[in-house]
Symmetry: C2
Subunit: 135 residues, 2 copies
């Protein structure tokens, strides 16, 4: 199915501390703010926070597998990490199609992550994607 201008898509997710450890292993990003509760206790965050890029990888997941799905090529993504994200917390990624160029099969999509309970906005951004079948 083709996506249309102003289409929206929502996707709920949460990560565990095991996911954080695995993400740190594969990316090499072992910043103690994500892994070490003692270190985190002495920062303004008080407890370990998720890698911002792990949250942002949800955008990649959704574009490549759900909305618009298979065949999507990622061209651009801007990211503003506004609030820290935590493990074992429900988040919602919300996508809104802002611009569509059917000739070039490209779309500009607003990407937002909110904490589900409070609807507090954690991460905002804008993606440019291409999909020759679905845009």
């Amino acid at each position: 199915m083709k996506i249309k201008l102003n289409d929206t898509f929502k996707h709920e997710f949460s990560f565990t501390q095991e996911d954080i450890v695995k993400f740190a292993e594969v990316t090499g990003d072992n910043n103690p703010i994500h892994l070490d509760p003692k270190y985190a206790a002495e920062t303004m965050f008080k407890v370990p926070i998720m890698h911002g890029m792990l949250g942002a990888s949800l955008f990649s997941k959704v574009f490549g597998t759900l909305f618009p799905g298979k065949g999507t090529i990622y061209l651009k993504q801007s990211l503003s990490f506004l609030k820290p994200m935590y493990v074992n917390t429900s988040y919602e990624a919300v996508f809104t199609v802002k611009e569509l160029n059917e000739e070039k099969h490209r779309a500009v999509v607003e990407t937002v992550i909110m904490e589900k309970a409070s609807q507090a906005v954690c991460t905002t951004g804008e993606a440019t994607i291409m999909n020759t079948d679905r845009i």
Copy 2:
């Protein structure tokens, strides 16, 4: 050590197909373009390509662990995925400090990933980071 305006930092890296599988598992991004050689063979890429966000996670790794290192908070990142990246290939991430605000402990850093052999630019972007000790 504090970072200064125009400072540059380089970091070499490469990923294996095992890393791609692990990244797909933890993020849920199992787009076949990254995982399935048969599917990839029928696309313009011909072989599986890396997740762009896995390349971008290198920026997070370097900021949080190497340059400027411990204590870095990620505020913003823009990403343009210009060329696909492949497994078992040497890449170089290059960082250049473009703006510095010592009062706010913030810096704007240009972030580029190049294929090491050809120096072809694969990913470009700009990061805004904060570090109260090192900026």
